[in-house]
Amino acid sequence: MKRMLSVVAVALAASLSSQAAFAQTLKTVKDRGVLSCGVSQGLPGFSSPDDKGNWTGLDVDVCRAIAAAVLNDPTKVKFVPLSAKDRFTALQSGEIDVLSRNTTWTVSRDTSLGVNFTGVTYYDGQGFLVKKALKVNSALELNSASICVQTGTTNEQNVADYFKGNNMKYEVIAFGTADETVKAYESGRCDVFTSDISQLYAERLKLANPADHAVLPEVISKEPLGPLVRHGDDQWFDIVKWTLFAMINAEELGITQKNVDEMAKSTKPELKRVFGTDGNLGEQLGLTKDWVSRIVKAVGNYGESFDRNVGAGSKLGIARGLNQLWNKGGIQYAPPIR
């Protein structure tokens, strides 16, 4: 129902409003006093509500960081849970200001959907989860398997490419939400559940006996996940983009949630630019001079957020791997703040 509403909203918005309505997201958010952020329907580590109803996760931290930078309050976020196939419609229609929902950056999404990806919060790849009892050690042994996948994802297309490329037969059953997909896998309808590997680890935690299931070693695709905004509002695009870059730069510069106030007093030219004691980079973005302090105070730097939500400090315990900073062996890299 919600989906139909947002489709109707797209049609109405597209037909009745003028272009200007989409161009002033910053003003709209400030007037509303709340950032509307599209997230998943519950994916531990990325975006899921805890037992008190507070949303946490890496994707959630991006929303909170934007709210901190724009509204000076990381709690002023309205989280809108969306299924994979409804997410773009919700963004196009203006129901949400930013979509931060483990979404893969591809050229077709960047162009024909009318959205812009702003960066990469997590470098991921697609994998397969199987029951250990099947005694399968490689994805190449999956000929004629039944595969559960969530509809509206890049996973659905990758799995078709992979099996065709390896001349294997398969049966794919596509479900509307992640929960339905996992439920069908658990009930034995499918031999395999396929998704981004981070998601496989997260969903495995929800299974009755996580130890009975294994992730196969093959990574069959590139899945750079990141936040995205609508076409047509360059200022808002910049703000979302640089919020994430600020988190990554903060880690590189050693600015943490704890030492942020100390560091702000620094006289190093680079830090003075970052903290706005010299120049007005924040104001050029449409924010305030202390935008980086606000972000780091609210959610910490990228590394802190990673560890807390998906890394060593979380239940998922995923290694940094590709998501380590560029100067520490990974590929996370942000343009400089200057």
């Binding site: 004629s144 509206g152 309808r189 076409h231």
Partner: protein, 401 residues
Amino acid sequence: MAIEARKPPSQFSARLRRALGGRAGWGGFAFQIVFVAALIWIGYEIYANARANLQAQRIASGFGFLSQTAGFGVSQSLIPYAETDSYTRVFFVGLLNTLLVAGIGIIFATIIGFVVGVGRLSPNWLVARIAGGYVELVRNLPLLFQILFWYLAVLGALPGPRQSISVFDNFFLRNRGLVVPRPMAESGLDAFSIAILLAVVASIVLRIYARRQLFQNGRVVTIWPYVVALLVGLPLVAVLLFGAPLSLEIPHLKGFNFSGGLRVVPEFVALTLALSTYTAAFIAENVRAGIQSVQKGQMEAGASLGFSHGKTLRLIVVPQAMRVILPPLTNQYLNLTKNSSLAVAIGYPDLFSVFAGTTMSQTGQAIEIIAITMGVYLLISLVTSAIMSFYGWRLNRSLGA
């Protein structure tokens, strides 16, 4: 000066004026033109604005996407389909899956509905209570819940492929659905089909003859032994002369799944079961209301002619009740078809799931795809009600109403 008699206005122009302007005459006609023009203008404005805004946001628009490669797999397809086919093909795959589930669902819902509806009025206390209980239980639970119940609780509880429940080593039931031997055409198929066709035609001719005898001469001709002999005998002769028409490909376990044989996916079974049992509860109530709307005297008239309860119902009451049953029955058929779009919850690839779901999120062309999907459901519904209206018209004619 001669007084001319007032001429009556010419018939044609008066009729035209009435048709176009109603009682208000030409003034009303002008108003209608303005109104229609305004509607067209609003429609055009919406269209042009949507187009301009989509372009400004650089969201793809138009119907060019229909020829692009889909690139995703579909678990059930009535026509050959591969990942390299276009979105148009996906559309037809989804449409046929929707029609299949709706068609079979309607047949089952009608049968169950009539049995339960008549059962509710049965003089047998137990039958009436069981039918009543069925209706109250099924129609008061949400449909989505019932679909998930059949899918996860009933079919999901079946064993895996390697522990399938097998019947005569030919039929295998498991949580991946039902596998049955696949009939394969053999050389005798043509002769066999012709024999069946002949038998059916001959039976129809016999029936027409029997009815004519009944209505014109009042003579009851028993034809069923001949019909059975024809339907069984002729094909049998054909098989003896030309050899077996079909051979069966027996499924066997290979790798993860069965290879060979014909497979009915559990999503289809669950959806059909849920839709037909749910809609049947409503149809049962329609049938009961229809039968109760027929005067009690008709039942007594049947009894006084010496008809049994069943025969009175079949020959006297139900034909009259059909007039009342038909319009709400059409509603239920339409509901069933539209409710089949809940398929996405259990991964059945119907039109809504593969076209308004996957295709839409891959291409992002919400407006075009929703418009096409709405148009298709509308068309299916209109065709269904047209068929039902035709049936109703024939029924009324035969009842002389």
